[in-house]
Amino acid sequence: MKIFGPKSVSSYLFYVFRFGAIGSLVLALFILLSFIIGNYELKGGRFTIPFPLLSYFDIKGDNKTSIITSITLILIYCGGFLYSLSMILKSFKSAVLFNAAAIRHLKVLAIINLLVFPIVYLSLRLIILNISIMNGIHNLILSLIFGVFLLFVAAIFKRGLKVQSENDLTI
């Protein structure tokens, strides 16, 4: 099976990640709206948000501002991350692998991993939840490694684009 191009693994994964991104953002919006319009139940200091169509599925958690904020923030971050990932896969769908869009989206995902994730992680741990940053520090390290790796991949793609354009102009 093809990895790049139309009707390839990239093409199918694009839909998976785009669906995940939309799902995360819709879920975050649903939680926020539920609290705004009062679509939740309180029992023993815990909230329960029922799903409109899936009666057997609901969202439960401690009724604390910090918990609600952290859930929403994580869902928004996941939505942004998956959307950025889907944009990279979208650029891999095109017939020409090395293209400017792929480089741009790789750099965006690198910035998300190198800057946005540490900000979200540290603000969640230190400000919102007020807990130690050491418990789960591996997530931060993995994100930084992934971000640096993406920068290298973006640089490789930039070189590939140059070689490809020179090759295209060799008659």
Binding site: S165, L169, I171
Partner: protein, 67 residues
């Protein structure tokens, strides 16, 4: 200026159209146009040989270095 491609001059001398040359040497008109306009980054020896054979000329007739 650098390397200048005088393909259009040679085509005019031989009274040949770009389309005819492209068909004769087996490249697309679009690629021949890139070569004529000087946008090409490189030219293959096989392409140069085919053009020289078809236009009955030397590589120096097609390529010129200008300061």
């Amino acid at each position: 200026m650098g390397i200048v491609v005088n393909l259009d001059v040679m085509l005019a001398k031989r009274k040949m159209k770009s389309k005819e040359l492209a068909e004769a040497i087996g490249i697309t008109e679009a690629n021949l146009s890139i070569l004529k306009s000087g946008k090409a980054k490189a030219i293959r020896f096989s392409t140069l040989e085919a053009i020289c054979k078809e236009l009955e000329c030397q590589p120096g007739d097609l390529l010129e270095y200008l300061k």
